[in-house]
C-alpha cells in the first residue's frame, strides 16, 4: 500500500515504445524486461534439456546400451534433470512472476529492481558454468540430479575441478539467485500493493507466488548448505557425507530433500495460480471459493515442509519415520484436492471458450489429477517400497512437471502473450501445439507406469528385453514431444514480429494488468490504481478500480 516508500525516484519519461530488442541484452531493472529475459533464457535451456531427453529416449528405444557409452548416458540424465529444474522450471516461473506480480498488485516495479536484475543475470552465469563441464576431460556430473554421495564423491579423473565440482558451484549460485528472488517477491507483495489491494483482493496467482517464495526462503538454505558441504567433501577432503572417512551418506539425503520436496510446491503453486487465473476468464465465471483457494496455497506451503522423508522410504529409514511421513504426505492432498474441486466448479455451468490457453489449462488439470493420484500411491509406504526408484516415479513426476507445470506455462505464455508483446498469436498453431503436447505427454509418460510396476528401474542405460514394448512407445512419445515445440517457436517468433496488433484486453479479462496498454508502459500505471473490489468479478459488472476504468472510458470517448 506504500508505493512511495520503497520505490526509486521516478524520472518522467517521454512516450516511446518501452523496449527495443536491444533492451533485452542489457542490465535493465524493469521487471517486465527482466521477466521476459528470464522466460527466453530458460526456454533456451528447455530446448537443450529437451535434446538430452531425446538422447535418453534414443538410448532406451532398445534394451542394450548401444547408442552412447554408459558414462555419457549417466551424464545425459544428470544434466537433463538439472537443466530442466534449475534452468527451465524455476527461472521460467520466476520470469512469469516477475512480469505479472507488480502489474497484478498495481505496483510500478519490484521492491528491489537492482537485486532483481542481479538475480536474473546469475542464471546465464550458472547455466554457462554447468554447460562448461562438457569440456572437462571427465565430462559433466554423472551422479543424477540428487548427487547422492558416495557416488558423487567418486572422481575417476582425479582432477580437482571435475563435472561434479562445477555442478555444485552452479547449484549453489542458483540457490543464492533464488533466495534473492524470494526476498524480492515477498517484500514486493507485502509492501507494494496499490491502495485498496488488500490480501483478499489479490489475484490467486499472487497468493500462489507469495506462498511459493516463502518456501524458497526457508528451504533453500538447507539445499545450499548441503551443496557447500558436499563441495568441501569433494574438494578439500572434509568428511560430512563420506562413509569411508566416517561421514554419514544418508544425512545428505535429508539436506537435499528438506529443500527439494518443498521445491516441487515452489514449482506447482504458481501453476495452480495460473489455472486460477485462466479458468475464470475463459469460463466467464468467478473463481469458485476464491478465499479458500488463496489460503490453501499457504497451507500447502506449510505442510510441504514436513514431508520430505517420503523420498527416503527405501533408504535406511526406521519404520516409525516411514509411517509418520507417510501420513503427513497424504495430508498434502487435502488442500490440493480443494483447489482441483474449486477449478472444476468454476468451469461448471460457465460459458467456455476453448482458446489455446484454455486448452492447455484443461489438459494440464486433467494430467495433474492423474499425477496426484499416483502421488498418493507413492506416499503409501508398502507401495513405495516396490516402486521407489522405478519408472513409476519417473512417470509420476513427469505428469506433474511436463503434464502440469510445462503445460501450465504454455497456457500462461499464450494467455499473456498479447499483453507482453502487443501482438496476437496464431490460434491455429497454438491448437496444433496443444494437441501435439497433450498426445506426446501421455504417450511418453503413461507407459512409464506399467514399466515401473513391472520393476524397471530409473537411471538405467540398458534393461531386460521384457520391458522393450512400453519403452518403444515412450520413446515415440518423447520424439513427438520434441516436435511439438516447433509450432510453438514458430508461433511465438512469427507473432511477435508480424502478428496482428493486440488490444489492451483481448480476452475481456478482469485484472489490473488488463487495464493498461499492451505492452504496458515502462512505469506500468500512469496513475496508481485504487482497487475497490475482489478479483474475478465475472458476471457482476462492477468496476475493479475507482480510477483506471473511468480513464478507459474517457479514452474511448475521445
Amino acid at each position: 500500500m506504500t508505493n512511495t516508500q520503497i520505490e526509486k525516484p521516478k524520472i518522467a519519461e517521454p512516450h516511446h515504445p518501452p523496449t527495443t530488442w536491444k533492451t533485452y541484452f542489457t542490465f535493465s531493472t524493469d521487471h517486465k524486461v527482466i521477466g521476459i529475459q528470464y522466460i527466453v533464457t530458460s526456454f533456451l535451456f528447455f530446448l537443450i534439456g529437451g535434446i538430452f531427453a531425446m538422447i535418453i529416449r534414443g538410448e532406451l528405444i532398445t534394451p542394450e546400451a548401444d547408442l552412447v557409452d554408459r558414462t555419457v548416458y549417466n551424464a545425459m540424465f544428470t544434466m537433463h534433470g538439472t537443466i530442466m529444474l534449475f534452468l527451465w522450471t524455476f527461472p521460467v516461473l520466476v520470469g512469469l512472476a516477475n512480469y505479472l506480480v507488480p502489474l497484478m498488485i498495481g505496483a510500478r516495479d519490484m521492491a528491489f529492481p537492482r537485486l532483481n536484475a542481479v538475480a536474473f543475470w546469475m542464471v546465464p552465469v550458472f547455466g554457462i558454468i554447468l554447460m562448461a563441464s562438457f569440456f572437462l576431460p571427465g565430462g559433466p556430473a554423472q551422479a543424477g540430479w540428487w548427487s547422492y554421495p558416495p557416488v558423487s564423491l567418486q572422481n575417476p579423473t582425479g582432477n580437482l575441478i571435475n563435472g561434479q565440482f562445477l555442478w555444485l558451484i552452479a547449484v549453489a549460485i542458483s540457490g543464492v539467485s533464488s533466495i534473492m528472488g524470494g526476498v524480492n517477491f515477498v517484500t514486493t507483495i507485502v509492501k507494494m500493493r496499490a491502495p485498496g489491494m488488500t490480501f483478499f483482493r489479490m489475484p490467486a496467482y499472487v497468493w500462489a507466488v507469495f506462498s511459493a517464495q516463502i518456501i524458497q526462503l526457508f528451504g533453500l538454505p538447507a539445499l545450499t548448505a548441503g551443496a557447500v558441504m558436499l563441495l568441501l567433501d569433494l574438494s578439500i577432503g572434509t568428511a560430512f557425507f563420506d562413509p569411508a572417512k566416517g561421514g554419514n551418506a544418508v544425512l545428505f539425503q535429508h539436506f537435499f530433500w528438506f529443500y527439494s520436496h518443498p521445491a516441487v510446491y515452489v514449482i506447482i503453486l504458481p501453476v495452480f495460480g495460473i489455472f486460477s487465473e485462466i479458468f475464470p476468464v475463459y469460463s466467464r465465471k468467478p473463481l469458485f471459493g476464491y478465499k479458500v483457494v488463496a489460503v490453501s496455497s499457504l497451507l500447502i506451503a506449510g505442510v510441504s515442509g514436513f514431508v520430505w522423508v517420503h523420498h527416503m522410504f527405501a533408504s535406511g529409514t526406521p519404520a516409525w519415520m516411514r509411517i509418520v511421513f507417510m501420513i503427513s504426505t497424504m495430508f498434502v492432498s487435502v488442500p490440493t484436492g480443494i483447489k482441483v474441486f474449486a477449478w472444476v466448479a468454476t468451469i461448471w455451468g460457465g460459458k467456455l471458450r476453448l482458446t489455446t490457453p484454455m486448452l492447455f489449462a484443461l489438459g494440464g488439470l486433467i494430467m495433474f489429477v492423474f499425477a496426484g493420484i499416483t502421488g498418493i500411491m507413492l506416499s503409501s509406504v508398502p507401495i513405495d517400497i516396490h516402486v521407489n526408484n522405478t519408472y513409476f516415479v519417473v512417470g509420476h513426476f513427469h505428469y506433474v512437471l511436463y503434464g502440469t507445470v510445462t503445460m501450465g506455462m504454455f497456457a500462461a505464455f499464450y494467455h499473456w502473450f498479447p499483453k507482453m508483446t502487443g501482438r496476437m498469436y496464431y490460434e491455429g498453431l497454438g491448437k496444433l501445439h496443444f494437441w501435439l503436447s497433450f498426445i506426446g505427454t501421455n504417450l511418453n509418460f503413461l507407459p512409464m507406469h506399467p514399466l515401473g510396476l513391472q520393476g524397471m528401474l530409473r537411471r538405467v542405460a540398458s534393461y531386460d528385453p521384457e520391458y522393450a514394448f512400453w519403452n518403444v512407445i515412450a520413446s515415440i512419445g518423447g520424439f513427438l514431444l520434441g516436435m511439438s515445440t516447433l509450432p510453438f517457436i514458430l508461433n511465438m517468433i512469427g507473432s511477435w514480429v508480424q502478428g496482428e496488433k493486440a488490444p489492451d484486453n483481448p480476452w475481456r479479462a478482469i485484472g489490473l494488468e488488463w487495464l493498461v496498454a499492451s505492452p504496458p508502459p515502462v512505469e506500468n500505471f500512469e496513475e496508481i490504481p485504487v482497487v475497490i473490489s475482489e478479483p474475478y468479478g465475472y458476471g457482476k459488472s462492477e468496476p475493479l478500480t475507482a480510477n483506471l476504468e473511468k480513464q478507459e472510458l474517457i479514452k474511448d470517448l475521445n
Binding site: D69, R70, P156, P318, K351, V381, Q454, R459, D464, Y538
Partner: protein, 298 residues
Amino acid sequence: MKIRNILILIGCAIALTGASLWMGQQAYSWFPPQAAAESKLIDELFSFLVSLGTFIFLGVTGTVTYSIIFHRAGKYDTSDGPPIEGNITLEVVWTTIPILLVLWIATYSYNIYAEMAIQGPMEAMHIHTMASAHAATMESTTEPIEKIEVLAKQWAWVFRYPNQNVTSTELHLPVNRRISLALQSADVLHGFYIPAFRLKQDIVPKQTIDFEFTPIRPGKYRLRDSQFSGTYFAAMQTDVVVQSIEDYNHWLKTAATQKPTPANNQAANEYTQKIKGAFTSGYPTVIPAPPPLVNFPS
C-alpha cells in the same frame, strides 16, 4: 433437485463404482508374479488404491468433459456465466471427504506395512495386534533358516551362507521360509530389489541392514540394484532361485564342496572391452571391482 437429476446422479455413481472396481481387478495383472508373501499384501493394497483413484479420476475428468461438451459459449455469445462465488456446504463436503479418505488409506497402508514386517516385527508401534507376514504365511513351516549375508559392490552381488561357508553370485532361497538377510555395501549406496517380491531396501556403506521376507513361489527371478551406483549400475543384476527346502539344502551341500572360482561379471567384461576398444567414446569411469571369487559362480 429434481427427481430426474437425482436418478441420473445415482446412475453415474453406480457406473463409476463399477468401472473403478473393474480397474482395481485389472491392477493385479500389471505386476510380475507374486513370488513372496509380501507381494500379495502389496498388490491387494495397490488394487484398492487403483479403484479409489479411478473413481476420483473419472469423477473429475467426467465432470470437466461434460462441461467442455455442454457448457460452451456460442460463437457470438459474449455474456458472462452466473456469478457464483462459492458454496459453503459443498466446500465443507469436499474438504471432509478427502480427509476421511486419507485417514482410510493411511490406516490401511499402515496395517499392510506392519503385516509385512520387513524390518522385523513392528512391536513398538502396533495399533492392532496384527500377525506379521512371517506368521501369516508360515503355518506349514518350522525353524527360520540362517541369516544370509549380502554384499554389494561396484558392480557385483555376492551372497554368503555363513554356516556352510558358501559364497555365490546367485541368491538361492528356500520356499515358504522366513528369510533374513544382512545387507552390506563395500563402497557406495546400492539397492536390493526383487520386483517379483515387491521388496526393496537401500544398502548403506558402513552399515548392516537387516531385511526379512518370505518367498512363496519356486522359480527364478531377477535381483537388481535399485539405487544408482555409478557407471555400470544397470548391469548390476543377478538371479534369485527360490526352491524347495530339499533342493536348497542339496544346493548348499554341493556348493560347499566346490573350489572358489571367478564369477562372470558383466561390468568387468564391459570395462575390459572398453579399454581394448580402438577408441573410447565415453568419459573415465570408476574401475569395476574384479569378478568375485565364489564357490558358486552363476
